[in-house]
């Protein structure tokens, strides 16, 4: 069945807008996008981001006329949609891409739960109506590989609850959302779960509209606040450029035979954490942190504001888990898709975008400027 009308949540977000770009590229479907704020300012920002991520693919703007922005909020009952709007949309929607999520590693627990867990339930209630009264084929639920929490070793796509603990309320909220997905699957709804690893900017230009997670770490590194982080030599980061993640998700979602499966949308090309931090520090002109455990210092020895920050990032800096990709590999087999390699060149592309946008500053230049000023 060709896709005629897709409903997208989280369309203002980094992954959501790239899913929209990919759907514009690969389908002729009308795209109904749920956004919390329909102000002129936000509409303009949406169109600006759409142009940035589509890299000028549609100079006449014709493709953009396929997009309908509607106001609502997944965290609200019924997603805040009026009964009239709901009645209009329910029979039209073929597929739902649920990318709305609040990614906060620090605090904001009630907001995170309301959006990520409550929002998923509200969305699936709406999806159930679309299936029962309309022509919905399936829901694509964007999750995170971090639902595996503190597990180590190999994480299978089919697994969810293995008795793991969670490193922060965000991970728990997404785990709980997947438990809700399981209950709706049991009720007959077909839901494809896409668990992504850390999403970063685009391959070509490092473009991002969001500086969460990995970018916060870059920011604190750029300020040189971490002098010492004991990191195992074999710890690795799993980063997926957003254009690759969106393309993989949309390609998998078009495969009609994939019923109620989970997919690890993670990068088979990982990057060693020590190497990554050395590369970033070197490029930004800050002293690289010391990585060895010395004088009996452990993670728990760290305190103060920097200790609190390390508590947030440490589980990701010491990650040694691996993700099974059997379902993902099978769905992408034979498709025009390649996972981008996370090498120094790509890291520099990501950093250059951050430097150009003013999110990061290069410390070496600052010192040069200071010296020049004193001279």
């Amino acid at each position: 069945m060709s896709l005629r009308c897709a409903f997208i949540t989280g369309g203002m977000g980094l992954l959501g807008i790239n899913i929209i770009v990919e759907l514009l590229r690969t389908t002729t479907a009308r795209l109904v996008v749920l956004v919390r704020d329909l102000s002129d300012e936000k509409r303009a920002k949406f169109m600006q981001d759409l142009r940035a991520f589509s890299a000028g693919s549609w100079p006449d703007g014709g493709e953009r006329s396929r997009i309908e922005l509607i106001g609502g909020d997944v965290a609200q009952p019924g997603m805040g949609l009026s009964p009239a709007l709901c009645d209009r949309l329910v029979p039209e929607i073929d597929r739902i891409y649920h990318a709305a999520a609040l990614i906060k590693l620090m605090g904001h627990e009630s907001e995170v739960v309301a959006t990520n867990t409550g929002g998923t339930r509200n969305l699936l209630d709406f999806a159930t109506q679309c299936r029962e009264r309309g022509r919905l084929d399936w829901v694509v639920h964007v999750s995170t590989a971090a639902v595996s929490g503190d597990r180590q070793g190999t994480i299978l796509e089919r697994e969810l609850d293995a008795g793991q603990h969670f490193n922060n309320p965000y991970e728990k909220s997404k785990f709980d959302a997947e438990r809700i997905v399981e209950s709706y699957r049991a009720g007959g709804l077909n839901v494809l779960v896409m668990r992504t690893s850390a999403i970063v900017g685009t391959v070509a230009a490092g473009t991002t509209n969001n500086y969460n997670m990995f970018y916060l770490l870059l920011r604190f590194l750029s300020e040189g606040v971490f002098e010492h982080i004991p990191i195992p030599t074999d710890a690795h980061f799993n980063l997926v450029p957003v254009d690759a993640a969106a393309k993989a998700i949309v390609l998998i979602s078009h495969a009609a035979h994939e019923e109620n499966k989970n997919f690890h949308v993670v990068n088979p090309h990982e990057i060693n954490v020590r190497h990554l931090l050395e590369s970033v520090s070197g490029y930004l002109g800050v002293a690289k942190p010391r990585f060895d455990a010395e004088d009996g210092i452990t993670f728990h020895s760290f305190e103060g504001m920097r200790g609190a920050l390390l508590h947030v990032f440490y589980p990701y800096l010491t990650n040694r888990k691996r993700f099974d990709m059997q379902n993902t590999d099978a769905a992408l087999n034979g498709q025009p898709f390649e996972w981008p390699r996370i090498d120094d060149a790509l890291i520099r592309t990501l950093l250059d975008f951050c430097l150009d946008s003013g999110y990061l500053r290069r410390r070496r230049e600052e010192r040069h400027e200071t010296r020049a000023h004193h001279a």
Binding site: F220, G224, E227, D295, S301, G304, M305
Partner: protein, 95 residues
């Protein structure tokens, strides 16, 4: 950053206050001259939550302090920031 000997930070020296203002100005991208004790960090200087954490982490390192993260939420003005730093523990022995 790690557990070491501690002593109360006490009154910030003039040089340390200069450091605080310089760090604030650099993170907030405003001229140092715009930093004044009564300034509201969020409303007057445009500080967001990430910048607040960043600022305290950098000052903790530069001034060799250990700042209580729980008390960071009480900081509303530049003077509050000075007070928090003065109430923090300083790393190392008495000089």
């Amino acid at each position: 950053m790690s557990t070491r000997e501690r002593r109360p930070a006490g009154e910030l020296t003039a040089a340390e206050k200069t450091t605080v203002n310089r760090v604030l100005a650099a993170i907030l991208r405003v001229p140092v001259a715009e930093i004044a004790g009564g300034n509201l960090l969020r409303d007057d200087l445009g500080m967001d939550s990430v910048q607040a954490i960043e600022c305290l982490a950098v000052l903790e390192k530069e001034l060799r302090l250990v700042v209580d993260p729980e008390r960071a939420f009480d900081v509303k003005t530049v003077d509050d920031l000075y007070a928090l730093l003065q109430a923090s523990a300083r790393q190392g022995r008495e000089p």
